[in-house]
Amino acid sequence: MTWLRPVIAVMLRYGYLLRGTPARWIPIFAWVGIDMVLWGFLTKYLNSVAASGFNFVPALLGAVLLFDFFTRVMQGVAGVFLEDVWSRSFLNLFASPLTIPQYLTGLVATSTMTSLISLVVMLVMATALFGLSFFIYGLALVPFLMILFLFGVALGVFTAAMVLRLGPSAEWLVWPVPAIISPFAGVFYPISILPHWMQFIGRLLPISYVFEGLRTIIQGGTVPWTALITGGGLAVMYVLLACWFFRRVFRHAVRTGILARYSAESVG
């Protein structure tokens, strides 16, 4: 319990911010809701015009939902970190007994809460409005979500470390990361149609195994457990690497004085 107290402090702080500022709920509800509506109607339209009888709802809308979940986790971790950047809290935070593992756990736990809310919103909308049934993915849904969650955590921690290293102006690095990754991850198409160099990058991305697996299941294939284990292994490795990187950047910031003087004027 003693170890968890600072973790709860990091979570509570964001809870207070959410309670006090309705605008902070927008990314949790609004963006994912808009995506569900937009892609939901698109898939309905495609279903009506496609001659093949292929059901686009689980393939496209399901993929959008899963990718949005990954995005929310990643931006959730980085977003909670950015709250400390914006409020210039580093000196007060890191002059306290808070440790880096506790701080990162707090960021991830906070992001988990907000991302789960987004996931529920998306599930309800996709099911109620567009008839998306997650039973179609079966048990594979669990590793799908785990891989997306872990890779989202890894990228969130990595981008937070980049902002710590490069200064508040590097905030722009955080937001486009999911969009940059999506063409390589094969969210909407098999990565086999990509050029070789893009396929190579795609195979290094854990989430590409999720979207490949999703399409395999929809097309009536069996769950590609080996591929999912590979994706899971990569995701765990990236989480460990991201945490190592954050710790290394933090130590550099303490050694060079970046942390003590962290602001847009002094860094970046």
């Binding site: 107290r5 509570l12 207070y16 911010l17 409020s87 002059a95 306290s96 007994p97 440790t99 303490v254």
Partner: protein
């Protein structure tokens, strides 16, 4: 006197510029030590190293005998600080900030502690006001309440009364004197206000170019060095550094 802070041969350079040049000193329990010096003398660098947010190039820092480099969290549990350049997050209310930092410092019976501090620093009417909209003086009082949350054994104050009116500043000095007199801990205090130094400090360290140039009782030091007042001594040290650490 048992020491709560022991600094030995502390050194820090930024690139080729030496900020702190091998200083050593102690702060005893119940003692208020003033860290004086002109801008850029190394005061804030020293405080940042004691707070663990800046790593020294060499030397050691012990808080109640705990090596800060080896046991960061246990050492910082015994410490707290307030500084004009480190206001609490302005998007949280006074009570929310105190709750968050109380949890970070592992304060027991937190709700009662927060209420006691809100009363002690006369923050009752600002309890549910966001810190960002408070005046600088009110923000200072909140920062001091946060600094007292964990009943620190080492309290670091970097120009804590800089933005307070004379009445509020005197009240704050009184509270800090009370804290030290209770024997709960020691205080390291930086200020440019020599009246304040005479009022609260048991001992002062004059820092210039990262070195301790003088150390002693602020009431007797000026006479020992042929200066009429502490302010004149400060100016003399800042302009023409003496041989380090005369007393």
């Amino acid at each position: 006197m048992q020491s709560v802070l022991s600094i030995k041969e502390l050194r820090k350079a930024y690139g080729g510029k030496i900020a702190v040049d091998g200083i050593s000193f102690e702060v005893g329990r119940g003692e208020i030590v003033g860290l004086l010096g002109p801008n850029g003398a190394g005061k804030t660098t020293t405080i940042n190293m004691v707070l663990g947010v800046l790593e020294p190039d060499s030397g050691s820092i012990e808080i109640e005998g705990i090596d800060l480099a080896a046991s960061r969290a246990p050492a910082l549990e015994r410490t707290n600080f307030a500084a004009v350049y480190a206001p609490l997050p302005g998007n949280l209310t006074v009570r929310q900030n105190l709750r968050v930092f109380g949890l970070l410092y592992g304060v027991r019976d937190l709700a009662e502690r927060i209420e006691a501090l809100i009363g002690q620093f006369e923050l009752e009417k600002f309890r549910d006001v966001k810190c960002g909209v408070l005046s600088s003086g009110e923000q200072t009082r909140v920062a001091l309440a946060k600094a007292m949350l964990n009943q620190p054994h080492l309290l670091l104050l970097d120009e804590p009364t800089a933005s307070l009116d004379p009445v509020a500043a005197r009240e704050i000095r009184g509270r800090i004197r009370q804290f030290a007199a209770s024997g709960a801990g020691g205080v390291l205090w930086t200020t440019h206000n020599m009246v304040e130094v005479l009022d609260v400090c048991d001992r002062v360290l004059f820092l210039s170019h990262g070195r301790i140039m003088l150390e002693g009782d602020p009431k007797t030091l000026p006479q020992q060095h042929g200066q009429p007042t502490l302010e004149e001594l400060f100016i003399a040290v800042a302009r023409e550094p003496l041989t380090p650490k005369e007393t």
